[in-house]
Symmetry: C2
Subunit: 337 residues, 2 copies
């Protein structure tokens, strides 16, 4: 199956046949500085450039802040490639939201003036006051964009985001294993970081959890979803499950999570914890002639930059999986090879 | 007449009955530091806060960066009040674009990473390379927003913007008198500044003119209009006439200028120089019980922050002038008094 609900059901994807906007929320957490916690970047220095470079790729078909494209140390390319193809095929407009970046992208972006997230292994992630302020700003963005749209599709890019997601889920009392961009998920390392982080959480109030163990991208995504006057598609895997649980405790949002089948078939990614329906799409990369793309099927990278959500939207709009793979490969050839 | 074409005709206003977005482009030019050139601020120190404060007012019904609201030294309030009422009545979404601000607003905004404009009496306004870069970024913004809209309404806020507008028109060989936020337009002072500025212009190429004697808000507005895939309403007076002449030399845009009748009936504001049709609306402030609002009819302030354009859109959507004045007065009472 190329597109199926793995939890519940929702019509939100149908709405994406009308006027839809894709909102990419990007930021950084210093949690990514912990050695071995993330492969969202070819080396530690490059990791901080991954979110802005992903965003640049979506607008320009190439990165402006780095040479080449974001990749894992062993060369698996960013899922932004898949999102790029989906945006190109659907002509859905893109809005980039800077929610706590270390380095701003060389493209226009909506600035929430969010702080970079602190390393949750060492300290609380963000000032509570700042979190509340960014949340209000993000709500404004969600409200304005939703007035022009039938549905908002919200994606993310933040290295080490699955670690902060695990911490948020645990702090909310949801005992989740958490997915990763590596097939050999560094479970033990993450578990230790999460354990230490969660000790700092003083209550299960969602703002407290965000401030103590979250990251700025979660604040941006949550605010945009909460501010939206229309349904939203949370485009992502376990990070969106964590954000969804925060959102569900903060207000009424008609949401669905849309991710890749690579996340859905990962035993360490517990999508059943989502308070909203979850749909998974197969971007067909397992059938690719290119090893760099086939790697997704083998458990590398798997999701990010809204790839699963935008694949779902492309399919909902009638693009066949075969055509989609063909176009992803074309872009891969032009952009990466 | 509360709404009439003063030049040509256009259906763009009709489009604003559908999905419309209001884009407020704000920035600063150091030209505003010339003593006596602008009254867009109660004192010289406050002038730089006028654009961010205007934008904050539109979202929150109050300013966050200053006490009270932007006003002239003798207390005439910002035209953002009129735009605020129009946005409130029409529910049209607002997007704020930072195109060269000295101080960013305390609200979410789209950042074009534009430079603050230099004082055109003393030097060239902006690096040409930077202008081209900002123009490209602004085109992206226009393209994305226009995909969700039937028409883009673009307004501006930049103190001393009528002076840079006069310089641009002169550099393009259009000999215009230029409007001002003062009834006693400091014509002689402006003329001297413009004369000196225009000496630096090396050709009538629009990018050269912008770089030599323009301001960053012009770059943002021009780029958004050029990038738009839908018609645009340039909401403003002589500043939009200058920008319109630049746009018309740079590409194909289906545009109309929408301003207030206070500008249209100002002999120093030559709307006939517009390459696009021009419509003028009467916000009825001459009939207000409040002297601060009646001042507009007497030639103070007259226009800005898209007030004339948004009044036109409100009227096109069926709000009667009487109702509009009533609502403007309500907001004036709540926000200013």
């Amino acid at each position: 199956m190329t597109l199926k609900f793995v939890k519940g059901e929702s019509d939100n994807l149908e709405l994406a046949k009308g006027r839809a906007a894709f909102v990419l929320v990007i930021g950084n957490t210093k949690t990514a500085n912990i050695e071995g916690i993330t492969v969202a970047g070819a080396n530690p220095e490059l990791i901080k450039y991954t979110p802005p470079a992903d965003a640049e790729l979506l607008y320009h078909g190439k990165c402006l802040s780095i040479d080449g494209v974001p990749a894992t140390p062993d060369g698996k390319p960013t899922p932004a490639l898949i999102t790029y193809t989906a945006l190109r095929l659907t002509s859905i407009p893109l809005f980039v939201v800077n929610s706590g970046l270390m380095v701003p992208p060389k493209i226009p972006y909506i600035d929430l003036n969010a702080p970079v997230g602190e390393n949750i292994a060492e300290s609380r992630a963000m000032d509570r006051e700042k979190v509340e302020e960014v949340l209000e700003r993000a709500k404004i963005v969600g409200r304005q964009l939703s007035k022009l749209s039938d549905v908002l599709i919200i994606g993310e890019s933040i290295p080490a985001g699955t670690t902060t997601a695990a911490a948020v889920l645990k702090a909310l009392g949801l005992n989740a294993a958490v997915s990763s961009s590596m097939p050999e998920n560094p479970v033990e390392l993450k578990r230790k970081v999460v354990e230490r982080a969660v000790e700092r959480v003083e209550s299960n109030d969602p703002i407290e959890v965000l401030s103590a163990v979250g990251d700025p991208v979660m604040v941006g995504v949550a605010g945009i979803a909460l501010g939206s006057e229309k349904p939203v598609i949370l485009a992502g895997g376990t990070q969106m499950v964590a954000i969804a649980n925060l959102i569900a405790r903060m207000g009424e949002v008609e949401a669905v999570i849309a991710t890749t089948k690579y996340v859905a078939s990962d035993a360490t990614a517990d999508l059943s914890l989502s308070p909203f329906p979850v749909i998974a799409s197969d971007p067909m990369l397992g059938k690719s002639r290119y090893p760099g793309l086939r790697a997704y099927e083998e458990g590398f990278v798997k999701e990010g930059v809204g790839a699963g959500g935008m694949t779902s939207v492309a399919y909902a709009r009638g693009i066949t999986p075969e055509k989609f793979l063909e176009e992803v490969e074309k872009d891969y050839e032009r952009i990466v090879l």
